[in-house]
């Protein structure tokens, strides 16, 4: 892999001498009705202005079963909602023209969700729900000898990718060309075609270089691409729209905050008798891919623990915050934080160390019988727990820090640093969107040309620098070709097949497998048929399940397992927290490249730490960004010890990128709880929040 310095072309590097610059005019209030849009003074320059009425096609953009208006038509639902689009010759003149536009509104009270919100309002604001149940949780809880209750909250998270959100659109005679920094180019194509009311074939989407996108470019790029395409259609000129950092941070894609209430019953022997769980997702003004988030949050919120009676009620709540959607994990991360924190709490109150407690209760809550598959999963979970526990010397440290906690009784009496250690268990289910109504197939083509060079064609967007390297290595190993003779086509929707959205580690769990199958097929034909040989292979997502059908663990989805131990040290005066070390044990089936797999986990740990620590930005009176708080830098990265387990049975590769965000927050917060003696139940965990716990 060569070091490149200026050869990759990112979205903000696209330029055309005759291009216009597009900007978005946004609402400055959270909720209200637009009374008038006007120009109180003389408008600067000669800009193109586009309103909702000018849109020739569909005025809404869809993300699976959710949709939102492209431009606000009267009812403002959140601060920053796009109202108008402006394009002009220079960015400065476009911004000046946008500033000349006055939107007069009748302001109305905005709604923000909090744990204190009444049940009536929650009911009124619910836009989607999913319930799962098994047995009779209410009865089981009432018959339990102990009931443990816990309320957990996870905040929003901004995906801190480096390159901006943006699009560059060039209108042509036959087709419109869209350069979009998207993880889902075929969604960009259908959205642009729908808004312009033209056939999808007349929209060509190409993808520029992307820095690690951290799942922040799933849906928002489609919105920006449509805006840019509308301005290009109106002006018949190339248009570039780059979302400024201040708009990106305030109104761009973000992880939805989630509030989860757990009620768990335990009998006299210590077995779990019932779980009653409520999941409330604040999806902002317009939910995005909410059915998938609900599904995944429900299916992970019990953790991997055996329980005969379950009742899970989950809801999407509409608020007047900017749209919040999926980020890494699609709801898994928030659920695992809550259940792993809750389990640690139960273990502590039961006076059993959390490692042993977990091992005693492993099992799949959703399955009625303990099949061979479940037994194998229990064994894998046990192995990763044991491995992380042994390598971190968990049991000894846990006992020692428990003793310290009891003796010192909180941070206020201390002069020396405090220590704690926490453990968490999680799994990752990779690959398909389960709620993919269209059941569309994901495809890859491979062509071995006359010169024995291989050309791979896919719309999969690499999430890191190593993904394409892995694809080349996989193909090269099967066909015995040097990786220098394996080429991956640039992404262009008029050439490459639809390989689905690049989410949920699908580059490893699906694209790699499709490349493997394509190359195996070429290898079978290679010495019988003349070159070139072209092969296309596809995989279809499993059918969406119905309520009550717990099929997420079943065929079609690949599963990875992980356990993490985090050891922390706290300065009792400043409450600054330092991570002494992180131990990660992972079983993910076949590992395609050890170095890149470890690198993916380390990047994931940093992403998790960002969620734990980064919680604010500062803006001035003109809504300009003036600073970011708590963003971890290179010096904040702790020692991370990664160990891949070799179960030897599973040969398929599985994704691992989501595991750190499912594991680290719970392990870290539990360690912090042990060190401080305060029960941490929400993230981010900042010194001021610990101070808040201290004050009660």
């Amino acid at each position: 892999m060569a070091v490149k310095t200026d050869t990759d072309k990112y979205i903000d590097d696209y330029y055309s001498p005759d291009m216009l610059h597009g900007v978005i005019v946004r609402s400055r209030i959270k909720k209200g009705k637009i009374q008038s849009i006007g120009f109180p003074g003389e408008i600067s320059g000669n800009p193109a202005i586009l309103t909702s009425e000018d849109i020739p096609g569909n005025k809404f953009i869809s993300f699976s079963s959710d949709s939102m208006p492209l431009l606000c038509t009267g009812e403002i639902a959140y601060e920053g909602e796009p109202v108008l689009l402006v394009a002009d010759k220079t960015l400065k003149s476009a911004k000046e023209a946008a500033a000349d536009i006055e939107i007069v509104c009748d302001k109305e009270p905005a709604f923000s969700f909090s744990p204190q919100t009444s049940r009536e309002i929650i009911e009124e604001r619910t836009t989607a729900r999913k319930n799962l149940s098994k047995g009779n949780a209410v009865k089981a809880l009432s018959a339990s000898s102990h009931i443990f209750e816990g309320r957990y909250a996870t905040s929003t998270q901004l995906p801190k990718y480096s390159d901006p959100q943006g699009a560059f659109v060039k209108p042509g005679k036959k087709a419109i060309t869209v350069i979009s920094s998207s993880q889902w180019p075929f969604h960009v194509r259908s959205s642009v075609a729908s808004a312009l009311n033209i056939p999808e074939e007349n929209v060509i989407v190409k993808v520029p270089a992307l820095s690690p996108h951290l799942d922040g470019k799933i849906w928002y790029p489609s919105l920006i691409a449509v805006y840019t395409a509308l301005l290009a259609w109106k002006t018949q000129k190339p248009v570039r729209m780059i979302l400024p950092p201040e708009e990106d941070i305030q109104y761009g894609p973000r992880r939805a905050p989630v509030f989860i209430n757990h009620k768990t019953g335990i009998d006299k022997t210590g077995k779990i008798t019932g779980m009653d769980i409520e999941v409330l997702i604040d999806a902002g003004a317009y939910p995005v891919l909410s059915a998938e988030m609900l599904y995944r949050a429900c299916h992970s919120v019990t953790g991997f623990y055996s329980c005969p009676n379950i009742s899970i009620n989950s809801r999407i709540i509409r608020t007047n915050n900017p749209p919040a959607g999926p980020l890494t994990g699609f709801g898994f991360n928030q659920s695992f934080f809550s259940v792993e924190m809750h389990i640690n709490r139960i273990a502590e109150l039961s006076r059993i160390d959390p490692l042993t407690w977990r091992k005693n209760h492993l099992g799949n809550s959703f399955e009625k019988k303990i099949s061979k598959r479940i037994q194998s999963q229990i064994k894998t979970a046990e192995q990763v727990l044991d491995d992380a526990g042994q390598r971190s010397d968990f049991l000894r440290k846990y006992s020692s820090y428990e003793l310290m906690k009891k003796r010192k009784n909180g941070v206020e009496k201390l002069g020396t640093s405090l220590r704690g250690i926490g453990i968490a268990l999680a799994y990752q289910i990779s690959g398909f969107l389960v709620q993919n109504e269209s059941q569309s197939a994901y495809s890859v083509t491979a062509r071995l040309d006359d010169n024995e060079k291989l050309h791979i064609s896919t719309s999969g967007i690499p999430g890191s620098k190593g993904t394409r390297h892995i694809w080349r290595e996989t193909a090269g190993r099967i066909l015995g070709i040097e990786t220098a003779n394996i080429f991956i086509d640039d992404i262009d929707t008029s050439i490459v097949p639809d390989s689905g959205p690049s989410i949920l580690s699908h580059n490893i769990s699906i694209i790699s497998r499709l490349i493997e199958r394509s190359c195996n097929a070429i290898q079978q034909q290679r010495f019988r048929n003349p070159l070139p040989i072209l092969v296309k292979r596809s995989m279809k997502s499993p059918k969406a399940d119905q309520d009550g059908d717990f099929s997420l663990f079943r065929s079609g989805h690949s599963v990875s397992w992980g356990a993490a131990v985090v050891e922390v040290e706290i300065n009792p005066i400043t409450l600054e927290t330092a991570i002494r070390s992180i131990w990660l044990s992972v079983d993910c089936g076949q590992i395609l490249n050890n170095y890149l797999a470890a690198s993916t986990l380390e990047a994931g740990v940093l992403h998790a730490l960002e969620w734990l620590k980064f919680n604010s930005y500062q803006k001035d009176k003109d809504f300009r960004l003036v600073g970011l708080t708590g963003l971890p830098g290179p010096a904040d990265i702790p020692e991370i010890q990664i160990h891949f387990m070799e179960s030897g049975k599973r040969t398929q590769p599985s994704g691992i990128g989501e595991l750190p965000c499912s594991l680290i927050p719970a392990a870290f917060s539990t360690a912090l709880s042990q060190a401080t003696g305060y029960y941490i139940d929400s993230i981010p965990v900042t010194p001021d929040r610990i101070f808040g716990y201290q004050e009660g």
């Binding site: 892999m1 060569a2 070091v3 490149k4 310095t5 200026d6 050869t7 990759d8 072309k9 990112y10 903000d12 590097d13 330029y15 801190k160 990718y161 480096s162 390159d163 901006p164 270089a209 820095s211 690690p212 951290l214 400024p244 950092p245 890191s464 620098k465 170095y595 470890a598 690198s599 380390e602 990047a603 940093l606 992403h607 960004l625 003036v626 600073g627 970011l628 963003l631 971890p632 830098g633 290179p634 010096a635 990265i637």
Partner: protein
């Protein structure tokens, strides 16, 4: 406002409005796309340049203030032996940051090695603290810098002899 300055070894003159940032001048007027416009509040390091040999964030500098100063961007730095030291070091460590942050990282590493030819890990981390990108793990970058330091030392030794 007409200003003259040295850009990648050449004297250039340009007319710039007083409110224009140096990053925009370099990218828009000189088409130097090697430096990137990340956060624009001085926290990501993607826009790093060498200003009179010292690293500076071009998003935080008004363009007119660089009058009569010397600017080197990654495009100019690529032509130097010093760049090749870092390139070789990174390749030896299999360290391949993304194209968005790499120019900033390379210039910061160069400045560090000029001042401190044998930096320890904490000095490397401190030098890179302003470069925030999620594209590579820090241990690989540390290895890359260690290799780069060895390359530079070896080259300087070769040059002397």
């Amino acid at each position: 406002m007409v200003i003259t300055f040295t850009l990648n070894g050449e004297n250039v003159t340009v007319d710039t409005p007083p409110e224009k940032r140096l990053i925009d001048l370099l990218r828009e007027d000189f088409k130097l796309y090697g430096l990137k416009s990340g956060c624009r509040v001085g926290q990501c390091g993607a826009c790093t340049i060498l200003l009179n040999g010292i690293t500076a964030l071009s998003c935080m500098i008004p363009a007119f203030t660089i009058k009569n100063n010397e600017i080197i961007t990654i495009e100019g730095f690529r032509k130097t032996e010093s760049f090749r030291d870092i390139q070789t070091g990174f390749e030896k460590a299999s360290c391949v940051p993304c194209g968005y942050c790499i120019s900033g990282k390379i210039l910061c590493i160069h400045a560090l090695l000029e001042e401190n030819p044998q930096p320890n890990d904490s000095e490397i981390l401190s030098a890179l603290t302003g470069n925030r990108c999620r594209c590579d793990d820090i241990h690989t970058i540390l290895n890359g810098v260690r290799y780069a330091a060895l390359e530079r030392e070896a080259r300087k030794h070769r040059d002397k002899t």
